[in-house]
């Protein structure tokens, strides 16, 4: 019987959701040598089974992608050729006759080895008297490292075969409803109006695994891949990927795995100072490109990325300067401030939660402005929710700079007149590489006697010196014109004054034919909704933070809201979620 997440969620009592998750901690640096013993018990096997039981030997070759993603510049890429006949590695594995045993010798450089095997019976390591494991499809066995050891697959069922498909070093475990105790996901986000930050999401898996591999799994490397998806046969959410953060453990027969999404890498990434264009579309484009460079530096590969044709700077105009700060602070601030009031024009957004997604504008559809990668605007009925909580924050009426006396809104203009200013003198040795952060933000940063200048941006310059002696760093310090010391809400209502540290200096509202973009706008602080809330609901594994939804209240009215955070729990076969939201479209 096939059903869908939507069909089940419409019911009051729905079928138990299928949850699949696991860990892929194959140790790529380890090696394993295999010998398959054919004493007449083998019915079918790949040619050179010794090799083809390793997935790395399978004829998996990246196929060129001419649809827009381009293809990699290494020689390992092929055009899809449907008539190409590869080897049969991976086709049969090693299969015994019905009722027969299988014998494979393994010599692994590490002591944990993952087997993918089907059949009934046990696996015995090291011959008579050795450790015996009851057979299950995904099995981790412990072998003495560096020693040729026998794996005996002892068949207990006269009518079925033993089929071994892969043997790899390391730990590969797949879990499903049959052995999962609980999977708890915290898909995080921060929609606060004062000082939002970017939060990484996390997953915790508890699964039943009857063999004691507690020593082995504590060796699982940090950042090994965890994967998860849930739904119903034929209708699952997109696979979410997380990376191990804490040492895996096994207590009794229960394995505990914890991980964070790729954004966990932001804790090691700084948003460095950078000049972007300040006005209209180009400013938006360059800020979007800067966000992409942050993601690159964190090593995040985007699953979904909204493209944008390159925008070129006009000959004159204002600039804006992104100040040096943590990547999380920058992302939180840019998503709140650096956008147009109409999010279908410009609203750069990065969402992770296991599916790294980047887009620069929302889809305008019936006023709900859904993310372009959201399946549709979700609908949640209050009558299906428990513990419905609603809160109101005090309005923000004025914003000031945290550093008293400093302006909150500035205009920054390049001031490239007259001679360049000497900013600093540096004693250099020929061939040495130097980094400097100068005292002022500049355009046209330059250093004399440089063999090559790698970076010259805002207040940062990096170069390789040509000669030994004194090098001079030059530039045109930008003109920073204070515009407002206090940015005030235009209307009249009771509210508070907040103090923030601006992430970006510059970028005053400028209208153009295309877009009205203000890189330092407090528009959302003044006009974003002050109403937040949360509720317990049955859960939909496809929902992401920052998705919009229609909240159908008990009195029949419909509100549009943005999801801030989803805490989803799969436990004892059931699924439920706590959803935190802010009213309106963020």
């Amino acid at each position: 019987m096939s059903t869908t997440i939507d069909a089940e969620n419409a019911k009051q009592i729905r079928s138990s959701m299928e949850v699949y998750c696991g860990i892929s901690a194959e140790d790529m640096s380890a090696s394993v040598t295999l010998e398959v013993i054919d004493d007449g018990s083998i019915a079918l096997m790949d040619t050179n089974a010794d090799d083809s039981l390793k997935v790395s030997s399978w004829d998996i070759v990246p196929v060129t992608d001419l649809t827009g993603g381009g293809f990699m510049l290494d020689a390992g890429v092929e055009f899809a050729d449907l008539s190409h006949v590869g080897s049969d590695a991976g086709k049969y594995g090693v299969q015994s006759y019905t009722g027969n045993d299988l014998y494979i010798y393994v010599n692994a450089s590490i002591s944990s080895v993952s087997l993918n095997v089907r059949g009934n019976g046990t696996v015995r390591v090291g011959g008579v008297g050795g450790e015996t494991y009851p057979l299950q499809e995904q099995l981790v066995v412990v072998v003495p490292a560096g020693t040729r050891t026998s794996l005996e697959f002892l068949n207990s069922e006269p009518d079925s075969r033993m089929i071994v498909s892969t043997i790899v070093p390391g730990i590969v475990l797949n879990f499903n409803n049959d052995n999962l105790i609980s999977v708890v996901l915290d898909l995080a986000g921060d929609l606060s109006l004062q000082d939002p930050s970017f939060e990484a999401s996390s997953i915790e898996i508890n699964a039943y695994y009857p063999n004691d591999i507690s020593t082995i799994i504590s060796t699982i490397a940090e950042n090994s891949a965890l994967w998860y998806y849930a739904g119903y046969d034929g209708n699952y959410c997109e696979m979410r990927r997380f990376y191990v953060t804490e040492t895996a453990s096994q207590d009794g027969n229960i394995i505990n795995l914890r991980g964070e999404d790729a954004s966990g890498a932001f804790s090691d990434v700084e948003a460095v100072s950078h000049v972007v264009w300040g006005d209209n579309v180009v400013g938006g484009y360059e800020t979007y490109t800067y966000i992409k460079s942050l993601l690159n530096e964190a090593g995040i590969s985007l699953r979904h990325s909204q493209s944008w044709a390159k925008q070129t700077r006009p000959s004159s105009g204002n600039i804006a300067i992104i100040q040096q700060q943590s990547a999380q602070t920058f992302l939180g601030h840019v998503m709140l401030c650096c956008r147009t009031p109409d999010p279908s024009v410009y609203a750069p957004t990065y969402v992770d939660a296991g599916i790294p997604t980047l887009y620069h504008k929302r889809t305008a559809s019936d006023g709900t402005y859904k993310s372009p990668y959201q399946l549709r605007v979700w609908e949640i009925r209050e009558e299906d929710c428990a513990e419905v909580v609603r809160g109101g924050e005090r309005y923000i009426n004025a914003v000031k700079n945290e550093t008293s006396g400093e302006p909150i809104i500035c205009r920054v203009a390049p001031k490239e007149t007259g001679d360049k200013t000497v900013l600093e003198e540096v004693n250099t040795n020929a061939g040495g590489m130097y980094n400097r952060t100068v005292q002022e933000y500049c355009t046209r940063l330059y250093v004399s006697k440089a063999k090559k200048i790698y970076v010259a941006d805002a207040d940062r310059i990096s170069w390789v010196a040509q000669a030994t002696g004194v090098s001079k760093i030059y530039g045109y310090p930008v003109a920073i014109y204070p515009v407002k010391t206090t940015d005030k809400y235009s209307g009249s209502r009771p509210g508070v004054t907040i103090k923030v540290s601006p992430s970006i200096i510059g970028g005053v509202k400028s209208t153009s034919a295309n877009v009205n973009n203000d890189l330092t706008s407090n528009y959302m602080r003044f006009n974003g909704s002050n109403i937040t809330g949360s509720f317990t609901w049955k859960g939909d594994p496809r929902m992401q933070p920052r998705d919009t939804f229609k909240f159908i209240r008990l009195n029949g009215t419909t509100e549009v809201a943005t999801i801030e955070r989803i805490e989803m729990t799969h436990e004892a076969g059931g699924t439920s979620a706590v959803i935190y939201y802010r009213l309106g479209v963020m």
Binding site: Q12, I13, R14, S15, S16, M17, E382, E383, D384, C385, A386, E387, V388, T536, K538, G539, L554, T569, H570, E571, A572, G573, G574, T575, S576
Partner: protein, 125 residues
């Protein structure tokens, strides 16, 4: 061939208890009560409901076996009215019996026996 007169618990045979027709119930998870009082849950499967096995009388050898069940999980099998044999993991708990026995010649017989039983398996077919 189905046997309607007896059930087995942990391999030992007993006379069929009085009115022995185990009921089934759904097992729910992720259950919560909404703000309108509605119960929302995921149905995981079904299991047999807890049952009290009662006998008017049992012979000595069956009582000995029954009292030896000390609360560990054992397998119970019986034949349903439709001829299908069911086999479930159960945990026997409280036993209660009338503290008299009736000697039918040389065959001791115990009266008014009751054993509480909990079914463990949840089925999702």
């Amino acid at each position: 061939m189905p046997y309607f007169n007896t059930i087995t618990i942990d391999g030992e045979t007993y006379y069929r208890p009085n009115g022995f027709t185990p009921a089934r119930e759904y097992v729910y998870a992720g259950e919560y009560v909404t703000c309108t009082g509605k119960t929302i849950a995921d149905v995981v499967g079904w299991k047999y409901s807890d049952i009290a096995l009662t006998w008017d009388a049992l012979p000595q050898d069956q009582i000995d076996n029954l009292l030896a069940l000390n609360g560990e999980a054992v397998t119970m099998t019986w034949t349903d009215a439709d001829g299908a044999t069911a086999s479930e993991t159960v945990i026997p708990s409280t036993h209660s019996l009338t503290a008299t026995r009736f000697m039918n010649g040389t065959n001791p017989v115990w009266r008014d026996i009751q054993t509480e039983l909990r079914f463990l398996n949840v089925h999702n077919d």
